[in-house]
C-alpha cells in the first residue's frame, strides 16, 4: 500500500482580496505577530519584570532598614555625646594620670604631707585599675581630715580614702597615716604608659 504524499508546491493559499488587500496573508501575519509577542513576553519580558520587581523590593527593604539603623545611630550618637558632656568631670577624673606633687598641693590646705608611698597597682572590676598609696601626714585636728575627705570630691582624680587610719597624738598635732586608692580606666592608662 502506498503512502499518500503531499506536494508542497501545489499547496497554495487561497487568495481573498478586499480592496486589493490579501486578507488571508495579512491574517496569518497578524496571527504570527501575536504568537511572536507571546513568546517574547514569556521568555524575555516576564522574567525581566519579575527580577526587576524582586530587586526593587529588596532595594526598598534595604533602604528602609538602612534609614532605621541610621536614625538609631544618630540617636545613640547624640545620647553618647550628651552623656559625655554631662559626665566630663568623671571621665577626666578617670583618664587623668595621678600626679603626686599636684595631690600634695591640693592636700596642703588640710594637712602637711610627710610622705606618699606607692603600694601596688591592680586591676579593678575588669575595666579599671586601682593604684594604692600610703600617706603619712600631720593634721591639727580630726576636722582637717573630715574637710579633706569632703574636698576630695572636687579633686581632679578619683580617690578613695581607705583603711588603715592611724591617728597618733604628738606634742603639737596628730600624726595621721592612711591609704588612698586612685582609680583609672585600664585602657587609657595603658595607652599613656605605652606612649611614654
Amino acid at each position: 500500500m502506498k503512502m499518500p504524499t503531499i506536494n508542497l508546491k501545489k499547496l497554495k493559499l487561497p487568495k481573498i482580496k478586499v480592496y486589493g488587500i490579501d486578507v488571508i496573508k495579512n491574517f496569518l501575519f497578524f496571527f504570527f505577530y501575536i504568537i511572536l509577542i507571546l513568546i517574547i513576553i514569556a521568555t524575555i519580558l516576564a522574567p525581566s519584570v519579575k527580577l526587576f520587581k524582586k530587586t526593587k523590593k529588596e532595594y526598598f527593604l534595604a533602604k528602609n532598614q538602612f534609614e532605621t539603623i541610621q536614625k538609631q545611630y544618630q540617636k545613640t550618637s547624640q545620647e553618647l555625646n550628651s552623656l559625655k558632656d554631662k559626665n566630663q568631670k568623671i571621665i577626666n577624673a578617670l583618664t587623668r594620670k595621678f600626679d603626686i606633687n599636684n595631690f600634695k598641693l591640693f592636700a596642703k590646705e588640710y594637712m602637711k604631707i610627710k610622705s606618699i608611698k606607692k603600694l601596688k597597682t591592680e586591676p579593678y572590676k575588669e575595666k579599671f585599675i586601682k593604684t594604692s598609696y600610703l600617706i603619712e601626714a600631720n593634721i591639727k585636728s580630726p576636722k582637717d581630715f573630715y574637710d579633706f575627705i569632703d574636698a576630695s570630691k572636687n579633686y581632679k582624680n578619683l580617690i578613695r580614702i581607705y583603711f588603715p587610719f592611724n591617728f597618733v597624738k604628738n606634742d603639737k598635732d596628730i600624726n595621721l597615716t592612711f591609704k588612698i586608692d586612685v582609680y583609672n580606666l585600664k585602657n587609657k592608662l595603658n595607652a599613656e604608659e605605652k606612649a611614654h
Binding site: 505577530y33 524575555i44 526593587k56 550618637s77
Partner: protein, 173 residues
C-alpha cells in the same frame, strides 16, 4: 518574443509584507529594549542594595561601639558616685567613733583598720571608762577587750581592742 509592455522589476517582498516585517522588527526591538532596560535597572538596584546592606552593617558595628562607650561611661559614673559615697561613710564612721570619746578620757592613738579598732588613751578611773566609753563600743563592735595600766598619778593608761561586726565590715568594701 515581443511584448507590448515593458518589463517591471519584481520586488522580493510585496509592500504589505515589507510593512509587516518592519512592524515585527520594531516590536521585537521595543520589547527587547524594554527588557534590557528592566535588567539594567535591576542591576543598579542590586548594586545599591548591596551598598546599603554594607553601610547598615558598618552602622550596626558603630552602634555596638557607641553602646559599649555608653556602658563604660555608666560604669565610670557608678564607680565615681560609689567612691564618694564610701568616702562619706568612712568620714562619718571616723567622726562617730571619735565622738564616742567622753571628755574625761584623752586619746594617744586611734588605729582603725577594716575590721579592728585599737584605742590607746588615758582615763582618770576604770569606772569612767567602763561607764562612758565601753557601752557604745560594745554596741558597735563584736568583741571588745580592754587592758589597763596604772600610772604613777593614779590615772590609767588603757588599750582597747575592738573587733568589728561582719556586716559592718562589709559596708566598707
Amino acid at each position: 518574443m515581443y511584448s507590448f509592455t515593458k518589463p517591471k522589476s519584481k520586488p522580493l517582498f510585496k509592500e504589505d509584507t515589507k510593512l509587516w516585517l518592519v512592524f515585527y522588527f520594531i516590536s521585537v526591538f521595543l520589547f527587547v529594549s524594554f527588557a534590557l532596560f528592566l535588567l539594567l535597572k535591576a542591576y543598579f538596584y542590586n548594586k545599591d542594595t548591596q551598598k546599603l546592606n554594607d553601610n547598615s552593617l558598618i552602622l550596626k558595628q558603630k552602634i555596638i561601639k557607641l553602646n559599649t562607650q555608653k556602658e563604660l561611661i555608666f560604669l565610670q559614673k557608678a564607680l565615681y558616685e560609689n567612691v564618694h559615697v564610701k568616702n562619706s561613710v568612712i568620714k562619718t564612721s571616723i567622726k562617730n567613733l571619735l565622738d564616742l570619746i567622753p571628755d574625761p578620757i584623752t586619746l594617744d592613738k586611734f588605729l582603725l583598720s577594716k575590721n579592728k579598732l585599737i584605742i590607746y588613751g588615758i582615763t582618770p578611773t576604770k569606772d569612767v571608762y567602763n561607764m562612758l566609753m565601753l557601752p557604745p563600743l560594745e554596741s558597735i563592735f563584736e568583741s571588745t577587750k580592754t587592758y589597763f595600766y596604772q600610772l604613777p598619778n593614779g590615772w590609767y593608761k588603757f588599750k582597747s581592742i575592738n573587733i568589728i561586726k561582719a556586716d559592718n565590715e562589709n559596708a566598707y568594701n
